[in-house]
């Protein structure tokens, strides 16, 4: 029986962690738990739920800054920002459906474990948008880092360290994020029928040009036919999203279409259709509802993606598509006993790394969910973790099996 504690104040979080620290009792930290199936199982007897810390505490649209308590539902933040035509530019993914839950996510959960969305390739990751935090370390001490202004180099940037640390360094209690204006309009230029190599080189060319797409993705024919693009794309779909003010999107769209002059396979999706497509890709919808499949997320150089797509089928039947102009590959394959972790990682090009996003708990307990690190980096990480949580009570084991590296 897991004990769930849900404090409704920062002081309450401090107390819970301090007591757990004194007792040497591990805590599993979560928001709503939409991503509790992500990472290695923690197996702590007590859950510290931060959902009780809810509410936007400061929002100044003209300062481009929003501060909210960590358990604030992301939906509330989106709605609040939309009222001022602003948005979280890193386009957080909503992975609830991928994880087979209907629970929504919290800001803290997004910062601690989320994966940035399609705009990552131009707008930066989550790390680039977290400006300040308040958090409780493994000693039950409340500390702050960063600030509430967009430009700040005072002290170490602990915000970056905490972003993506899956609650293994501290329990976040309040987060300040940079927000940006929502694009007035968007359109997606869609090119049908390109093989992966041609698609990647087209995406690279576009991302390196004044066309300035805000997202670039490629779906093979099979996945395109089962997506919002069914009946629109013929064969594979290479998608380039343009965002901005009307005249800008018009001009860049013209520029891209001129590039494909004579190629009738190029079409344009306007506002709503474009938004629908990128919502699907953001939320990894092509891989929803596949109970016996493991889902991997691979970061790599775009130019290495086509060769990897050719090499991977030697592992057996699988589906894969590209986001971030080819720098992100999503792979779905039959999970089996080990999600093919060893074989898949062995197939990767140099510098690439793979994260096991979806797999049953037993597989995630036995296989490295996160890409193994070189020894010297692992040792450094273990010391950094100990500097926040010397007794290893915060989400122990969530990121790495070794006792020391949490």
């Amino acid at each position: 029986m897991v004990d769930v504690i849900q404090p409704d104040s920062e002081e309450g979080v401090v107390e819970v962690v301090a007591v757990a620290c004194a007792a040497g009792r591990p805590l599993e930290i979560l928001g709503h738990g939409s991503k509790s199936g992500f990472g290695r199982p923690v197996g702590a007897g007590t859950r510290l739920a931060l959902a009780g810390l809810s509410g936007i505490t400061e929002y100044e649209p003209a300062e481009l800054v929003l501060t909210a308590r960590a358990g604030t539902p992301l939906a509330d933040i989106d709605a609040c920002l939309a009222g001022s035509h602003q948005t979280l530019a890193f386009e957080p993914r909503d992975l609830s459906a991928l994880f087979g839950t209907t629970v929504g996510q919290t800001l803290g959960g997004v910062v601690a474990g989320g994966i940035p969305g399609p705009r990552r390739c131009v707008a930066g990751g989550m790390r680039d948008h977290v400006l300040g935090v308040r958090a409780v370390n493994g000693l039950g001490q409340l500390f702050k880092a960063g600030g509430k202004v967009v430009k700040n180099v005072t002290g170490y940037d602990l915000c970056k360290l905490l972003t993506g640390s899956f609650g293994t360094l501290a329990a976040l209690t309040e987060i300040t994020v940079k927000v940006l204006p929502t694009a007035e309009t968007e359109a997606t230029v869609l090119v049908s029928g390109l093989a992966a190599a041609a698609a990647v080189s087209l995406m690279s060319e576009a991302l390196g040009s004044a066309a300035n797409p805000s997202a670039a993705a490629w779906l093979p024919a099979g996945l395109a036919a089962r997506s919002i693009l069914a009946g629109i794309a013929t064969g594979s779909a290479t998608c380039l999203r343009l965002e901005g003010c009307g005249p800008s999107v018009q001009a860049r769209r013209r520029r891209l279409l001129e590039r494909f002059e004579g190629n009738t396979a190029a079409t344009v999706l306007d506002d709503e259709a474009s938004a629908g497509l990128w919502r699907e890709l953001r939320d990894v919808q092509p891989f929803h509802g596949r109970p016996d499949q493991a889902v991997w997320k691979i970061s790599l150089r775009p130019s290495d993606a086509p060769a990897l797509l050719e090499r991977l089928p030697t592992l057996g039947p699988l589906d894969a598509f590209l986001d971030w102009g080819g720098a992100l590959m999503w792979v779905s394959l039959p999970c089996g006993a080990d999600a093919r972790a060893g074989d898949l990682r062995a197939a990767l090009p140099p510098g690439a790394h793979a994260t096991l996003v979806i797999a049953p708990e037993a597989v995630r307990a036995a296989q490295p969910v996160f890409h193994p690190l070189p020894d010297a980096v692992r040792a450094l990480e273990a010391r950094v973790r100990a500097s926040f949580d010397p007794h290893g009570i915060l989400n122990p084991g969530r990121m790495a099996a070794a006792r020391s590296a949490g």
């Binding site: 769930v4 504690i5 849900q6 404090p7 409704d8 309450g12 819970v16 301090a18 004194a22 100044e60 649209p61 003209a62 300062e63 481009l64 035509h85 790390r127 370390n137 000693l139 039950g140 001490q141 500390f143 702050k144 600030g147 509430k148 202004v149 967009v150 430009k151 700040n152 180099v153 005072t154 002290g155 170490y156 940037d157 602990l158 970056k160 972003t163 993506g164 360094l169 204006p181 991302l207 390196g208 300035n212 005249p247 800008s248 001009a251 130019s303 510098g351 790394h353 890409h371 193994p372 010297a376 980096v377 692992r378 040792a379 450094l380 010391r383 950094v384 500097s387 926040f388 010397p390």
Partner: protein
């Protein structure tokens, strides 16, 4: 300003150190003569000077690793140095320390246009990266005003900014990976040329760590396609409040300019007297607003900016119609520091960030403090991101004026923190602002940061005396004692 007391034992090992360094770096790479050491006695914060014990100029990562290990074994402190342009004293030497100069790491190692990255050694200048790729229509976005001289390694250490960082980010948002050598001589790669490296974001921690965690020996950055066009507006206001309102209104309208700069009356006058850029002398505040991107976008947004600033009472609006005109708008702003240098024997450049809505309050505070300290001040301001650069005018030859300027500066930075801002937006804490850290951070905040440093540098040998207040000590770690293991909050919901 005091630096940590020189350790006589370390000084006593100088000869052993020199011999050890010479065994690692042959020839002229080890500098020991006072006359030659003098070239390294200061950085961009010239008010402070100190001869180092030795300077070493390695050429390879392997040499850096051996040097650091030697320093660790001899318990000698290390001050890493790029071009020495730091405005916060980040590269100020220590009497009992080695200056590790990275100037010989001056090669660009790889340019990858398909994946839009450049990998360079840390001694390559910021501008040289852009120069290496501009032929193919690319550039490196962060542009600190010292970009001709400052190095990418120094930019990584300080997380440098520039006038374009509102739209394109600071150094940290443009660096993808580094190779770092720790004090133990371990060579680690953090980040890389693919996004979102596994594990903790140690790269994000190292950028802006001011040389306190290790020595960076290689840097991979992202490069961007050069915008198709850029145009600027030069706008005069008769009050700083109206100018600040205009900045808020532009951002509120969903426009993120490539750069948005403000100058106050004394800065406008200094610039006019110096180069005659055509700025309005009767303005209380001048805005330079630059937009870049496709021509259609720039023209459209500039027209909207024009309408917004006129509606908010601008008495002068000029829109650039040629590249020459755009550069002319910038000429006065870019010359602002030397222009101020011309009207005063010395000036002291501050670097706080504030929430922009507090600008008027902060400027009024600065004006009042200026009268109180008897020192003039001119303000230039990265208005888009709230980064204020007050330039305090003083004469170091007049007894007491440097101290008065320091006290005035500290007062400004405290005010920045009081109104919800921070001590430094882009120059770093260095030696300059370390004692003010306790104004922004409490004991627990600072000790958490110090423990992170100890994870990298347990002996405290990497650039000590910077960032943290000199006399500040943290208690030993221990478990908090909770009486009887009982929760003082029995009412917490449990289910």
């Amino acid at each position: 300003m005091e630096m940590p007391k020189a350790d006589p034992e370390a000084l006593g090992r100088r000869q052993e150190l020199i011999e050890g360094l010479r065994a690692i770096v042959p020839g002229e790479g080890v500098i020991v003569e006072d006359r030659a050491l003098a070239a390294y006695e200061s950085d961009g914060l010239t008010a402070y000077r100190q001869l180092p014990m030795v300077v070493v100029l390695p050429e390879t990562t392997g040499q850096v690793a051996r040097i650091l290990k030697l320093c660790r074994d001899l318990a000698v402190k290390v001050v890493p140095r790029g071009a020495g342009t730091s405005l916060s004293g980040g590269a100020l030497p220590l009497a009992d320390g080695v200056v590790l100069g990275m100037g010989r790491f001056n090669r660009i190692l790889a340019v990858d246009y398909a994946n839009r990255t450049v990998t360079a050694q840390p001694g390559v200048t910021n501008l040289a990266i852009t120069q290496a790729v501009e032929g193919r229509g690319f550039y490196y976005a962060p542009d600190p005003s010292s970009q001709i001289a400052c190095t990418i390694g120094g930019n990584v250490a300080e997380n440098s900014g520039g006038v374009h960082c509102l739209k394109y980010g600071m150094t940290t948002n443009n660096v993808l990976g580094v190779e770092l050598v720790t004090i133990d001589g371990d060579i680690v790669r953090l980040g890389g040329d693919v996004p979102d490296a596994p594990g903790y974001d140690l790269l994000g921690l190292v950028v802006g760590s001011e040389g306190l965690l290790g020595v960076v020996t290689e840097v991979t950055v992202r490069i961007l396609p050069k915008p198709q066009s850029a145009r600027a507006a030069l706008v005069g206001f008769s009050s700083t409040v109206a100018a600040a309102d205009a900045v808020a209104a532009i951002i509120g309208a969903g426009i993120i300019p490539a750069g948005m700069e403000m100058m106050d009356r004394p800065a406008i006058h200094a610039a006019e007297d110096f180069i005659g850029a055509g700025y309005p002398r009767d303005a209380e505040a001048l805005l330079i607003i630059e937009l870049d991107g496709p021509e259609d976008e720039v023209d459209h947004l500039l027209a909207r900016v024009d309408a917004i600033v006129r509606q908010l009472g601008a008495f002068m609006v000029r829109l650039s119609n040629s590249e020459e005109e755009r550069l002319a708008f910038w000429a006065g702003r870019k010359a602002a520091f030397p222009a101020v240098g011309r009207i005063s024997p010395d000036y002291y450049c501050m670097d706080g960030t504030i929430p922009r809505r507090k600008l008027h309050e902060v400027l009024e505070g600065i004006t009042a403090a200026s009268a109180r300290h008897g020192l003039r001040v001119a303000n230039v301001f990265h208005a888009g991101d709230g980064n204020l650069h007050p330039l305090i005018l003083y004469d170091a030859n007049l007894p007491g004026q440097l101290e008065a300027a320091e006290a005035f500066g500290a007062e400004i930075l405290r005010k920045c923190v009081q109104v919800g801002g921070v001590l430094t937006g882009e120059h770093g804490v260095g030696v300059e602002k370390r004692e003010l850290m306790l104004d922004q951070f409490n004991e627990v905040d600072l000790c958490q940061q110090k423990r992170v440093k100890e994870a990298f540098d347990p002996h405290g040998l990497c650039n000590p005396g910077k960032v943290f207040p000199t006399l500040h000590r943290c208690a030993e770690l221990g478990r908090m004692h909770v009486s009887g293991g009982a929760l003082p909050f029995p009412d917490l919901p449990r289910f």
